[in-house]
């Protein structure tokens, strides 16, 4: 499979995603510069990586959405392309209107970097179909603005359409206020687009994809995506 990984000035998880996809999972990857107005041909999935695109000036992701490459990504998504935004990538996707809602300052007002537990709300998505029965994943977060919010109508829609993919939970899978690291509405950690092909998530699966780092839960998501793409 071929993955395009976007590079904005200030992206800093771009090479982490490349490492997992290329060196760990042996897939084709291509870095795509923010000024490019076209995606490389034959791309199966676009990864919008974490970082501080454009220094997070103005508002996280607010400037990145206007970059030439994001116009191409919007086109790609519209045609049913698979797009995966992680952390700052999730923020960019909401700013670009590819996903609903917004990500605001953490309730604590501080940056938070730590492992969290995620309840997987459905195991039949493009990104969660290879979990081998696991319903609780341990994956790190690292953000200052990961507090998901949206209108009550949007939330209702997300629930009804089963578009909430990940919710913060405790080790046993209980979704509780104590397990919510950033104040996110309904403990939301990741959501899908209407067609289920665009995912935005705050946690970093690329940081949990190798035994040498002591955690491979994130790799299950990449393997799910590969599985979905290979069946398509």
């Amino acid at each position: 499979m071929k993955f395009a990984i976007l590079e904005f000035p200030g992206s800093n998880c771009d090479h982490d995603c490349e490492w997992v996809l290329k060196s760990v999972l042996k897939q084709k990857t291509e870095m795509v510069w923010h000024q490019d107005s076209k995606l490389p041909s034959g791309v199966d999935c676009v990864v919008v990586p974490g970082g501080f695109s454009y220094g997070d000036y103005l508002r996280c992701g607010a400037i990145a959405r206007f970059s030439p490459v994001m116009q191409a990504v919007a086109e790609f998504a519209k045609k049913g392309g698979m797009v995966w935004g992680i952390c700052n990538g999730f923020q960019i996707l909401t700013e670009a209107g590819l996903l609903p809602g917004a990500l605001i300052r953490n309730k604590s007002l501080s940056f938070i970097c730590k492992d969290v537990f995620l309840k997987v709300e459905r195991a039949d998505s493009l990104f969660t179909n290879r979990l081998g029965g696991k319903r609780v994943l341990r994956i790190p977060i690292a953000h200052g603005e990961g507090n998901y919010t949206c209108s009550p109508e949007v939330l209702e829609g997300l629930r009804q359409d089963r578009r909430i993919l990940f919710r913060y939970c405790d080790e046993s899978g209980a979704v509780t206020p104590a397990a919510n690291p950033n104040g996110a509405l309904d403990n939301i950690a990741g959501i899908l687009s209407e067609n289920g092909r665009v995912l935005g998530m705050m946690p970093h699966p690329e940081r949990a994809s190798e035994a040498v780092l002591g955690n491979t839960d994130g790799k299950l998501l990449f393997e799910s995506a590969l599985n979905a793409l290979s069946r398509a």
Partner: protein
Amino acid sequence: MKTESISQAHPSDPQVTLAVATGMGLSPEEFGRVQTILGRMPTYTELGIFSVMWSEHCSYKTSKPHLKGFPTTGKRVLQGPGENAGVLDIGGGYAVCFKIESHNHPSAIEPYQGAATGVGGILRDVFTMGARPIACMNSLRFGEITDPHVRHLFAGVVAGIAGYGNCMGIPTVAGEVVFDDVYRENCLVNAFALGVLKHEDLVKGTASGVGNSVIYIGATTGRDGIHGATFASIELSEQSEEKRSAVQVGDPFMEKLLLEATLELIQKRLLVGIQDMGAAGLTSSSTEMAFRGGAGLDLHVDQVPKRETGMVPYEVMLSESQERMLLVAKKGKEKAVAGVLEKWGLHAAVIGKVTDTGRHRIFENGLCVSDIPVAPLADDKHPLFPMVKRPMKKPAYLRKTAAFSFKKLSQPKDYGAVLLKLLAAPTIAEKSWVYRQYDHMVRTNTMVLPGSDAAVLRIKENGKAIAMSVDGNGRYCYLDPFLGGQLVVAEAARNVAVSGAEPIGCTDCLNFGSPQDPEIMWQFAEAVRGMAKACRELKIPVISGNVSLYNESPKRAIDPTPIVGVVGLIEPVKGEIRAASQGFKKAGDFIFLAGKNLDELGGSEYLQRVRGHKAGKPPKLDLKAELALHRFLAAAVRAGLVASAHDLSDGGLAVALAESCLSGMERLGASVELKDTIRPDALFFGETQSRALLSAAPAHGAALEKLAKKFKVPFTRIGSVTRGGLSIKSPKASLEAAFDAMHDAYTKTFEIMQ
């Protein structure tokens, strides 16, 4: 060809007088030297340049003679002190480049920006050498957190470090924070950065090749930070608030662009040399580059990109605006350089040329406003360079502190309660409030996360791993600077060894009070002598460092606080990296103590925090035993025999046991029985050196004992990992603490920050 141009005063320049010179920090004697060098009165711009170049911060005029005792060579040393940062070979054609630097005074005035720009500066030092930064650490000192002003500083510094490092995408993987009233007015913020490079990408801060273009890149120049280096070379005072304009403002996004552009320029082989504009900005960067290249430089300040109008040459040369670099391009590569800079959206301007005059000249619109020979500005071997030999005197307080004997102290009634008190002491308590604000995982290399003795990072490029730790102990150095200096190096190295690595090099940041006080000068000389001894005997070369003097306020000087950052190397075993962390792993594992328990309490955290005495002699150190322990620890981890390993330091054996219980992935306790008959408080809380706590599967016990024997390290099985709390029995006393009580004590201290 020698050009004997005589510079002229800029129309806006004030008259140069002795009073102006001393106002800039020059001594009358130094002002005389300036005139001897130039053969005339200096211009105002020239005076400014001399004053910053000869400030303690840039010149090391007081400290340099003392630093000569440091070992700086070794088979792995590719670059020792004297460059932006030092470089060590780590095999496979790769090297690590690292350095530590202080940003104390700016942080005491404006904690967020002070700390942030400290991180920015040290990162630039590393990537200008051609290395991609992969990790940061920091060492912090504050007053007591019960003080709201201290909390303001602490919160601001941590947020500043986080704000800069996180945005740069470089993980902050380890550090230490110590709280003591002596740092109330003068906090310490020491930032460490480490990068990885290919040997052939090593670049130096040098200017050579007559006619080559000198190019300025990065942020524009403003009036911020003027005389920052001089500000760092005087004591903090009530008036320091007024020097707020000497504190710079950071822009990590700009620096991220500089980082990427610099590495691209270096990898495309477009540069002769590159240098960060750090302390003393354009002045020191250009002078040092010219000096290292044995060249001269002509600079045109009218070409320097500025963010404010009406800036005079003096201001342009002395500005410490952040995120700026100076580079010398290879001839014919100017266009290619411009292309790379444009890709990253960076400002660039050709502001001068390399010459063969040996002079550093500054022009504004064709008018020469400064013309100084390079050598006496930058070469400490030049006869007119103002090296200072200051008087020294053994401090009077030492007679009292050394005479203190803990032997007359009664024993506490409840050792468990003492343990809880120590676990809750801010210096010992769990620091997740701090390190959770730092992205410590980005770049996906961090194998051992913050909260253990050392961080361990795999090196993707060559399949190995490195361990790193930063340590200091001002109290030990206050009570005996010579011994304290040795202890600091030993602990930093032990932290690395206990993680399974062989220490291969270090960097140091020497934080002291005013060298004009003979007692402080004595502390400095003694501490450095001790550090040098330990580095020599432990075979750890010093490859970079920084000296920060004048850390005092009208109220007091800080404790002498040298900080050492040690880096160790872990070779893979059959392709597998084996590293140890401090948390117990499994109930039923055996617990071992490496080293011997001695009847020592002097200088301990227990003695100060619980008993109220900052006194006594710090623990003894046998460097041969210490080295043997390091080698044993690395060998034991490498052999795959170790489940957990933890250094014994602040709070001694009981605190180390508690920390190993509390740092596990699950609730684990320990049941320990000791045979020592020394005083119980010394046994439980003494800080005797050259000790470590190990846990291992029972099946590995015999092999570990055999290995310890081979390295001649005393090694005793003292108990087992349990599912209960902590229980220590000894012939004279016992200590009991429940898991939840320990956990609460250890983890709630920083709730005061929320």
